[in-house]
């Protein structure tokens, strides 16, 4: 998992992380009013969610969900 933490206490359910995730990894739990990690393995660690979260609830690690880095050389 590359979204290594989504702090539900801090999350206000604003939905920005869900909106900015290009990989549809995050979804909003409408009932609880909180975001959750729905498809963790598809995260590519672009840092969009962590960067845009207004309350700092998300922590993304640099590793991708999968896919080894192919050497360009």
């Amino acid at each position: 998992m590359t979204v290594r933490n989504l702090d539900r206490e801090k999350c206000t359910g604003c939905g920005i992380c869900v909106a900015c995730c290009p990989m549809d990894v995050l979804r909003l739990d409408e009932g609880a009013g909180k975001a959750y990690v729905a498809y963790p393995k598809d995260c590519v660690a672009c840092w969009g969610c962590e960067s845009f979260c207004p309350v700092g609830a998300i922590d993304v690690s640099p590793e991708r969900g999968r896919g080894e880095l192919v050497s360009p050389y």
Partner: protein, 562 residues
């Protein structure tokens, strides 16, 4: 329409814009000025889509009085290989684009109450804008002007009635519904193809060009624009900032740019993340056994390091995604004041897109393309200035929106053809009927093996390109064994298919072009060949197979002559 409703939820509009990134939002806002119904949709959520919010916040700029000079320079640099009409249109619209974007709510860096134009090198001007909040601002303006927006819809294919595009099919990622959109005009603004490799461009999956191709639109320039950026290995991400290149060194601690490009070490230069000279130097050093390449910022203060970037402005939102140094400290645990940072060339994206005229019309009636889904040859396969991506998104977005809006104001509506919709939807949903063991991501990451290595994609050669094509085809064939449990999976499937298609088209065009020019270099044909190759390569779907053809550069019709 009752039959259609059995196939999906039908939504009707005048102008349908696929993609709510920079190009899409500009197109939607402009189209709305024709007083028609405009609907924009995106796989993400409007306000946060595409590359603009996560990019560097740089917008290329050309002073209105310098447009001709700029276009002529671009033309000469391309060896007269570019589309001069587009070079003039692009340069000419840039000032207007900044004004329009400001009027639509985007915050630009100001000086004495005016938008500040920065000079970043000989003839290179840029403006800085608040990237993270830019599309939120456009969304707000779009809402007040009555543009309709739908989030979390993954567009998979266009719908035609006869030869005219009449709409599109989308997958509701959250609600699991199939949507059928009927429109008088469709604008595809879904970005280029980043292959999920370089993180800044993770949102561009090649779907726009792929669906245009399937519908019969002509693609062009697939062999150009394949680019590498230099980035931080531990983060898997490019390093923004125009002066960092001065501190690149090899394993022995020798400055590599001074060694290979001494002219860059004196005077002021802006060397972007995608600068081919840096990639060149890195590759040469590694080939000489002097790798890996490091960025050595030890001994510099935080202020000095901030000054190297020159694209950080305290008035604009500080975006952590671009603050690689912060990421290095916090995520990779690297102490940049004491340690060197290992750098790696990172494959960025493939070039090309749907061929468009100066109104952004594709070769298909009813279909427009904007931003990186389109290709207009303005630079003839070159480029080389930061902020051109955003400028291109804005200029093509505004032009597409204006043209599509006017068209929709007068054109008749073509209904969705039931049989066509059924065929397209059945194709799109087919993986839902399978429970295959193959994960589409495996296909995507296998495609990386074909597009990322420089031996395939930077120093091209027929034998090796055929090898790369083999990898792509093998990857694509695996898709037949992939199933999808829900629309999220299904979207991943279609993205994998689009990315494999982009890679195939890149190599097929590159194999056809038996010469070298612009970003296309072939070891087996290293010279420019104007006699045989002063033409653009197009790709079109003919009876289900890609047909490659050429289009001579219409130099005699252009303003600037050699």
């Amino acid at each position: 329409m009752s039959n259609l409703n059995e196939l999906g939820t039908v939504i009707t509009t005048d102008v349908l814009v696929l993609g709510a990134g920079g190009a899409g939002m500009c197109a939607a806002l402009k189209a709305k000025e024709s007083n028609i119904d405009v609907l924009v949709l995106d796989k993400c959520g409007t306000g946060w889509c595409g590359q603009v919010p996560i990019g560097g916040g740089i917008l290329a700029y050309v002073h209105p009085e310098n447009v001709e000079e700029w276009a002529e320079r671009v033309t000469v640099q391309s060896g007269y290989f570019n589309n001069q009409d587009w070079a003039l249109a692009f340069g000419g619209d840039m000032h207007k684009a900044v004004e329009s974007l400001e009027n639509m709510g985007i915050t630009f860096l100001k000086k004495d109450g005016k938008t500040e134009i920065l000079n970043w090198g000989p003839g290179i001007y840029v403006t800085l804008f608040d990237a993270p909040k830019s599309l939120v601002a456009l969304k707000k303006t779009a809402q007040t002007r009555g543009v309709r927006m739908m989030d979390k819809i993954y567009a998979v294919d266009l719908l035609k009635n006869g030869d005219r595009v009449a709409g599109a099919v989308g997958l509701g990622l959250v609600d699991g519904k199939t949507y059928i959109f009927n429109a008088k005009a469709v604008v595809v603004a879904m970005g280029g193809c980043g292959y999920l490799h370089e993180k800044t461009y993770a949102s561009c999956l090649g779907d726009g060009a792929a669906m245009g191709y399937r519908a019969g639109a002509q693609l062009v320039n697939a062999e150009f624009g394949s680019g590498y950026v230099w980035g931080v290995k531990a983060l898997g991400k490019e390093l923004f900032g125009i002066h960092f290149y001065l501190y690149l060194e090899n394993a022995r601690g020798e400055k590599i740019m001074g060694k290979h490009y001494p002219e860059l070490m004196t005077g002021k230069h802006s060397v972007y993340t995608f600068d081919a000279r840096v990639i060149d130097a890195m590759q040469k050093e590694v080939q000489a056994g002097l790798g890996p390449i490091y960025l050595n910022l030890t001994g510099l203060s935080d202020e000095e390091i901030a000054g190297l970037a020159e694209d950080q402005a305290t008035e604009l939102t500080h975006l952590m995604a671009n603050d690689n140094l912060k990421l290095l400290r916090e995520k990779a645990g690297v102490d940049i004041s004491r340690e060197r940072i290992e750098m790696l060339p990172r494959y960025l994206y493939s070039g090309g897109g749907m061929r468009i005229d100066t109104q952004c019309r594709t070769t298909l009636e009813g279909l427009w393309a904007a931003g990186a889904s389109s290709s207009n040859s303005w630079s003839g396969g070159g480029g080389g200035q930061g902020g051109l991506g955003v400028a291109s998104a804005a200029v093509t977005g505004f032009r597409a929106g204006e043209s599509a809006g006017k068209y929709a104001g007068t054109a008749n509506r073509y209904e969705i053809d039931y049989k066509e919709a059924k065929r397209v939807i059945e194709r799109a949903l087919a993986p839902m009927k399978r429970r295959g063991g193959i994960d589409p991501a495996e296909v995507t990451y296998r495609v990386h093996d074909a597009v990322v290595p420089m031996k395939y994609n930077r120093q091209r050669e027929a034998g090796r390109m055929k090898e790369a094509l083999g990898i792509v085809r093998e990857a694509r064939d695996k898709l037949a064994g992939a199933g999808a449990a829900d629309f999220h999976d299904l979207a991943r499937y279609h993205a994998a298919e689009s990315m494999a298609m982009a890679a195939e088209f890149t190599y097929r065009s590159a194999l056809m072009r038996e010469e070298s020019r612009a970003g296309h270099f072939r070891e087996d044909s290293p010279q420019k060949d104007n006699k045989n190759w002063f033409k653009w390569i197009t790709i079109q779907n003919k009876k289900g197979a890609p047909f490659l053809d050429t289009l001579p550069v219409p130099l005699k019709d252009y303003k600037f002559q050699p």
